[in-house]
Symmetry: C2
Subunit: 376 residues, 2 copies
């Protein structure tokens, strides 16, 4: 396993990340084939296996982007972790469609701490916010890092309470690591960078786009031993995070609530679908004890050996009957989510996360207007 990349190697990785049409799997294979990102960038213009747009972009350097990347990499506490590097967190490496690289502002060692994700509605209720704070405090006091998405509502409450309890917290961004969204969380983000880490798979300067946030969710769940959903409506992005967590083989926990609260509906759906109904933080901690042991094994492995063959990628998608129905509903003509829901009989929340997984696997491409098609 490679050691931490040099400055120039990191710069070359960022250039590859910015090249259009190169997915995580392609990028990984490319760097592996050429032995380094720098060599991959040099040889890319002549590499017929790459999309024309990627070759063109790698042929002509974008000085402004390179300046931004240099600037970002030069600052203290800014790190690039590549999937082949030894610092890349083991639990995240395990997931299908793991990001090729992570940009970290803060302490990258925190990514190896046992993490519990707390996610939920942006428009949370007062009691939802209080619950997020109380569970985050308890997780932090028990020595866990609280991981979330820096969004308004539940996310922000969880990050803040973990810090207030003297713990660490990790925020995974749907923007570049230097773009803080929402703006009112700038101060919170600074505290997180100082006592934890801001993590992104997007190059510096990348603005938030709607499609970034579901992608971001797979990293939140993938970094974590388990994901706790505090409050979620039926259309909440938190349900995507929870579904991804389950698909990643991680534990999913949900708080029940009143049958009259729309923000409890999503949690109730998760519980019906097999998530653990929890009333206390101790129940979550108890349940995760075994999973934590797995992380400890990974950690021992990492400390005990420097060389390791690339892990086998796992993807259970093809064997899953829901995925089979979705694949049968897709063809090469882009179709809207509603249309796919009707064709496949699957719900919109489920569809969104499944399409994301398939997109990250390179099976599906997303077209304009939120439409999806089979990759050519």
């Amino acid at each position: 396993m490679a050691t931490t990349p040099t400055f120039d190697e990191s710069l070359a990785w960022l250039r590859l990340l910015r090249a259009p049409g190169i997915g995580a799997a392609t990028l990984r294979a490319l760097v592996e084939r050429h032995g380094s990102a720098q060599t991959a960038v040099e040889r890319a213009p002549g590499d017929e296996s790459l999309p024309a747009a990627a070759r063109a972009a790698l042929r002509t350097p974008d000085r402004a982007a390179e300046g931004a990347d240099r600037h970002w990499l030069e600052q203290p506490d800014h790190h690039l972790l590549t999937c082949s590097g030894q610092d890349y967190p083991a639990l995240l490496r395990d997931i299908p469609s793991a990001p090729a690289a992570l940009l970290v502002h803060g302490d990258p060692a925190q990514l190896w701490s046992p993490q519990i994700a707390i996610v939920g509605a942006r428009s949370a209720s007062a009691s939802g916010l209080a619950n997020a704070r109380s569970f985050a405090r308890a997780f932090a006091r028990a020595g866990n890092v609280v991981t979330s998405g820096l969004a308004e509502g539940i996310d922000g409450a969880a990050h803040g309470a973990a810090l207030d309890a003297g713990g660490a917290t990790i925020a995974v961004l749907g923007t570049g690591p230097d773009v803080i969204y929402p703006r009112q969380h700038r101060e919170l983000a600074a505290r997180i960078a100082a006592h934890g880490a801001l993590v992104s798979e997007f190059p510096p300067g990348t603005e938030g786009r709607p499609e970034h946030f579901p992608r971001r969710n797979r990293i939140i769940s993938g970094l974590s031993l388990g994901t706790l959903v505090i409050e979620a409506g039926l259309n909440s992005g938190s349900l995507i995070t929870a579904r991804l967590a389950a698909e990643q083989g991680r534990e999913v926990f949900a708080l029940p609530g009143s049958i009259h609260s729309p923000l409890a509906r999503g949690c109730h759906r998760l519980i019906r679908d097999g998530a653990w109904l929890v009333e206390t933080a101790d129940e979550v901690l108890e349940q995760l004890r075994g999973v934590g042991a797995r992380l400890a094994d990974h950690l021992r492995e990492r400390l005990g050996q420097d060389e390791k063959s690339a892990p086998v990628r796992r993807s259970g998608t093809t064997a899953d009957p829901d995925y089979a129905r979705l694949l049968a509903a897709l063809d090469q003509t882009p179709a809207a989510l509603d249309e796919l829901a009707e064709r496949s009989g699957l719900g919109a929340a489920a569809l969104s996360s499944m399409l994301l997984v398939l997109e990250l696997d390179g099976v599906v491409i997303s077209a304009s207007g939120g439409r999806y098609a089979l990759a050519p």
Copy 2:
């Protein structure tokens, strides 16, 4: 299958029910062996297989009790249904430890209507009471009888709302059919008798005793296609009803609530143990559609044939590992519930209902001070 018993036969049944030490199974076997309750009473004093106390009681008539029984039987809308009679409700006959006879004040035909049990805390919250009323109304409007236990709180709210919606409701009592407990439900009980039925397995004049209420619960769940628990603390009798329902192979439904409400804890435990988490009455009705078809089959059977062999009694208790642990923890020295909980590792709520089932099966006897021992 026998037709409705005559007045004198009913009187003889009540006398057998009053005899000490004759359980439901013994009573059924006795009547079957002698061809009628009247013959069984006549021959009982010389029947060496009966406990001495029972023989003594059947030798010397208790004039006061007989007067009470006569008086009760003579009144209009008072009926005795015996387990060998064709009017005895089919779903209840199916359960282990079905009562040997039911005393009904009201319309016995309602016992054959599809019933849904609504149970819950006596000290319910305002929102729990509102939920009980709203689910009861919806069940009644969909043509179901709402069955409950006439207790304060959830039970009373469910009975009342079913009646207000123009539906029928059945109250199963832990007292004789002429003893209304709690007293403030006298008016409600009169309405129930007029638009449904009051049901009891205890002879007229029987006062409520603590041990009657868990017994009563098995009849509530046994009459019903499914049981919905609205609100329940961790020590609620409703959890016993729910456990009995599950052991009877019936559906159990529970409403989730706030993690901060002690009255949601019991429901959450049920959901974790496999009860359906429900948010709406429609979900319950949808789930029970298939079970309702089973009742319809029974009804067709009853209408189509007058003679039928006695149904085979089902009892899954011996194969169940929890029961095996409980039986291993019991011996012939009476032990308190706490002691049994410690010996078996089982929770108090589970133990209570399991001990009840074993007691009704004649395997366990209850001694003074809430202690239990294996039957000699």
